[in-house]
Symmetry: C2
């Protein structure tokens, strides 16, 4: 699997996580890349998140290398964690001959443990020696924690009359992972886009993909989505080129986000939830989040039980503005509630919908034109087992 | 077990719930009672909740009888459900010789099913014939659903130079119950208090008891807490009497709330969480709620794993205003985080605290003087099993 033009990748085993396997991913943009990123909004931002944010500003949105480690989130580690992440950044810059702020750090793993930076720095020369245009698989594997396998999605698109590529890979099986905090996603393209254009496109794509999935409602200290463009060319892209790129980006982000939801800890079934007819986008989101994170809705989903009272009870406590008498609820092709009144239905028909691997649920508030969608996993015994396991 | 003076109680089997057992509880205040109540804030309020609210206003805070049924929540049942509940109210008033608005209805059970009111009305004469001052046990049993047993608490207090009594009973093993929605609590006293005085005391007591427990973060369509005073006497109570009553009321409410948390669906362990040092009460509550409802914190509690990174990650997404650098975390006698920096500790000491039946957790935001406490259950395999069970 080849990376888009201008990118090289490799992994190395630094011995940071318990199980020996590559745990460091290195991506290098040979001539540098324009970059945009979005980060977790958790108040406890991990040291690498804080440093990546500042570095991106300082470098004017330019990135030369990305250094990711699994096995240690380096979050809530105070001064010591910050210094450790900075030492790795400086060491990578030395080895690659760039400025420290052009090295973008990301970490995933246990919270509260300081990054063993000597181990990571010691593994960098090995990774650099292994850099290759075929490194996509290596880097997509090195960043994993409890994921069941690598998550990669690709698209091609017409841009300036040339076919360009977008490769994305990510990790995550929960908004936050236990020991192993977090969702990370990396998107690489060889189309030429400015940091500002990348930022706009990325925010839009993340909104309809990574921000529209829910495993457990918990968000992490390390979440990072990074978009890099290695393409050269100063000319602003045409409207058609921009659109072509946006479609590709949204497609790749949605595909990756769906992989995360499907691989959600212990997940056996998904709900594809749409809240429509809301007065505002905020109301739609409040409603969708309350339903998607309700333990009662999620256990009913696991049990294949079309227990719709739980869906509306969660809606009722969501804080969204609506009138109960205007609410309708559809599950697959069945209308269960119309204008606030229950509609007779065959239990076996509803059970058949809830037996599907993906259950479509539409809640219409009947108030306005705004909507929100969430793809959410169920709450299973597997989830409890995975997360009740003692860390050590 | 005798009820406070002025109250009679009885139960009857109306055949509303599947398992045959008394499912109707009747409480009669022989000469009427002053009343105050608090209800669910869920936007989908069940028909009995809507009717009880209106009736209490219409009667000027006077209640002659309370009619409770288990097995059917009569929530999200539209016009038909409303009419059914009203018919029961009118029938009870006829039989007892009072005004309909003096009959206080409450229901608990499946959402979306209309109350079979003919069954309930048909059982009322049997319940009336059985009314007795010793009916506390009967009524406390008739309102149960998945509860493991009756939840009763009592207190005596000095009031106007006389020893008065307060008896409370409730049901609930989750903020909402699947089939069997809801928490209901009834508090009866023979001390003389006005509806206004009852209201003030009740709000204060509920705030530190029923509003400070969490099983799954879901709230129900039927939650009701009713406080009745049968005492006669127009004179306003002295300050000492008021205090004596408030202490008794808070004690009984806290005892009942603790029983609900302990009996939480699948609960094996509780966390006694305190968030202090918040800038406002709202900030303290936001933080406490995020931690108490986090699936990752709750599964760690189930697993006996002192995984403190999850506690702070939940705090970080809570929306509470705080600075990470000022946060401290204590678990039992151990300080794990001080001023945002991890403090070295012995893993086995922390594990010993998390092995306790009740785990004390104190999060100090270091910002101000406000605090909030929550008693929350863990998230266990038992919870998933109970709630993934198909309704039929």
């Amino acid at each position: 699997v080849t990376l888009p033009q201008g990118f090289l990748g490799a992994s190395a085993d630094a011995g940071i996580r318990k199980k020996r396997a590559p745990d460091v991913a290195l991506i290098v943009a040979e001539s540098g890349a324009n970059a945009a990123a979005v980060f977790t909004r958790n108040r406890f931002q991990a040291a690498p998140v804080q440093i990546a944010k500042r570095s991106l500003t300082k470098s004017g949105g330019r990135v030369r290398a990305v250094v990711v480690n699994a096995g240690c989130a380096n979050a809530i580690t105070g001064r010591a964690g910050h210094d450790a992440a900075r030492r790795v950044q400086r060491r990578a810059a030395e080895l690659l001959g760039c400025r420290p702020e052009e090295v973008f750090p990301a970490s995933t793993g246990v919270i509260g443990v300081v990054l063993p930076d000597e181990k990571l720095s010691a593994a960098l020369p090995e990774a650099i020696a292994a850099l290759s245009p075929d490194g996509l698989e290596a880097v997509s594997r090195a960043i994993l924690t409890t994921d069941s396998g690598p998550k990669v999605a690709e698209a091609t698109f017409l841009f300036g009359g040339v076919t360009r590529r977008l490769s994305g890979f990510c990790k995550g099986a929960g908004m936050i992972h236990p020991d192993m905090a977090t969702m990370l996603a990396f998107l690489l393209t060889d189309a030429a886009l400015t940091p500002a254009a990348l930022k706009t496109a990325l925010r839009e794509a993340v909104d309809v993909s990574f921000n529209a999935i829910s495993v457990d409602g918990d968000t992490s200290t390390n979440d990072t989505v990074l978009l890099l463009s290695s393409g050269k060319g100063k000319r602003a892209p045409s409207k058609a080129d921009s659109n072509s790129f946006r479609v590709a980006l949204q497609g790749v982000c949605k595909a990756l986000a769906r992989m995360i939801a499907r691989d959600g800890e212990g997940a056996t079934r998904l709900m594809a939830l749409e809240v429509r007819g809301a007065r505002s986008r905020r109301d739609a989101r409040l409603a969708a989040n309350a339903i998607a994170t309700s333990p009662l809705v999620k256990t009913a989903l696991f049990g294949g039980d079309p227990n719709w009272g739980r869906i509306l009870a969660a809606l009722g406590r969501s804080g969204a503005r609506f009138s109960p008498a205007k609410v309708s609820l559809r599950v697959g092709p069945l209308t269960l509630v119309a204008d606030g009144e229950p509609v007779p239905y065959e239990e076996r028909d509803a059970a058949a919908v809830f037996a599907q691997e993906e259950v479509p649920i539409v809640v219409d508030l009947g108030e306005g034109g705004e909507s929100a969608t969430v793809l959410a996993s169920d709450l299973s015994h597997g989830y409890v087992t995975l997360n009740a396991d003692y860390r050590s």
